[in-house]
Symmetry: C2
Subunit: 244 residues, 2 copies
């Protein structure tokens, strides 16, 4: 498991202690990975999990054609994080999937809360597939007392007043924010205050968060507008509504 090349976290040995800058920054530090590359890693993993060959191998060419990319792109993306493939053979299916999960950080489960039990909040709570992907929805909160106490996906909706204690006791790291736009800002502040480290934001606003908190936003209107633009272009094909 502790395989030779990967170890993205903190090369602990101090052989680069000296000022020889040339060697040091050849190893790509995690914050130098191209953003588009990280987006594609999710697609590679999705593809691997979709076609469960078990323990066969897969080539960069195969992955590339399945996703509408070039094989060089796939190899370059993966090579940022180590050497996973074998020349002449390809990448071992399950091994690559595991590596991608490690890289993305989904190789361990994370307690996740949904805030906002409206239509969208209920939908993401019940989405299902998430548990197997490392995101365990363990709590649902809502601002509205009329909704608090109802059951969504087997969970009782709790009031915001219990957020802080729940985050602590359940060790919640991630929140999916599905409240109206005019409440999102305030709720996000409460989430950060309570200790949440990552927010998936469905509200059509930009959330200002302090350092150390990550935000990814998904805006249905934005996605539809991008679609409308592409339609006007007459351009076809699929591109991931990429998360940054």
């Amino acid at each position: 498991m502790s395989e030779s090349t990967s170890d993205p976290s903190a090369s602990p040995d101090a052989d680069d202690a000296n000022a020889n800058a040339g060697e040091a920054d050849r190893l790509p530090r995690r914050d130098r990975i191209p953003r588009p590359t990280v987006r594609r890693l999710s697609l590679y993993l999705r593809e691997l999990e979709g076609s469960m060959d078990g323990n066969g191998t897969v080539s960069s060419r195969q992955l590339a054609t399945a996703l509408g990319l070039t094989d060089a792109q796939v190899r370059k993306d993966l090579a940022y994080f180590g050497q996973f493939g074998q020349p002449g053979i390809g990448y071992r299916h399950e091994e690559l999937a595991n590596a991608l999960r490690r890289i993305l950080g989904t190789d361990r489960p994370r307690a996740t809360a949904v805030v906002g039990a409206g239509n969208l909040g209920r939908a993401v709570t019940c989405y299902g597939r998430l548990d197997g992907k490392g995101f365990n929805v363990v709590e649902v909160f809502d601002l509205d007392d009329a909704v608090v106490g109802t059951t969504v996906g087997g969970l009782v909706v709790r009031p915001m007043s219990e957020l802080a204690i729940a985050v602590e006791t359940s060790d919640i790291e991630i929140a999916m924010l599905a409240v109206p736009g005019d409440a999102a800002d305030d709720v996000a502040r409460q989430l950060v205050e309570a200790g949440v480290r990552g927010i998936l934001n469905f509200a059509p606003v930009r959330l200002p968060v302090p350092d150390g908190v990550a935000v990814v936003s998904v805006d249905l209107t934005v996605a539809l507008e991008q679609l409308a633009y592409k339609m006007a272009l007459g351009i076809e094909g699929d591109e991931q509504h990429a998360a940054d």
Copy 2:
């Protein structure tokens, strides 16, 4: 695709004399616009619609700071499509919003269908804000006979067998695809067959569509994985889960 450029903004009032052929191809053709630029146009519009100053003006600096960008970025993005601003003044609020809607293609309403009346399908059907943004949800379909006939957001769920006729009679241009992944491929084919020109795909698969059909995908798992990666990075801040 008969028309390539043909001045999409068509600023009708000013600017009479410039039929110079040499000038014509300095105007960037729509398929040469950077993809990131198009994503940001949606954010500019969202910001303008959010802060309804009515008919004041807004500067590139203001937009930039609101969205975490540079002012030069904003100006460059907008300048791809024409000259909307006035030096020393900025951009007129409502005029810029209208221009963005024209560019994105949301200046006219489009009949939209939701396919899949599960949790997610019902949520997007009831999302609400869409009608005012140019996307009118006029039909809901489902594969499951047990769901057909129920009411979602004031609409009666119809069977897939009625898709083709409904697309024609209601002039449906866009479909939001919220069916399980293993059905998405087949349903997408039916949509294209029926004449839908754009698909917003929520299923975790890549849809193969013919030329002339646009697809934008939104994958909840992908978005969460991007969040997990950012959390590992310790990188903060908001970036739009951008639609391509």
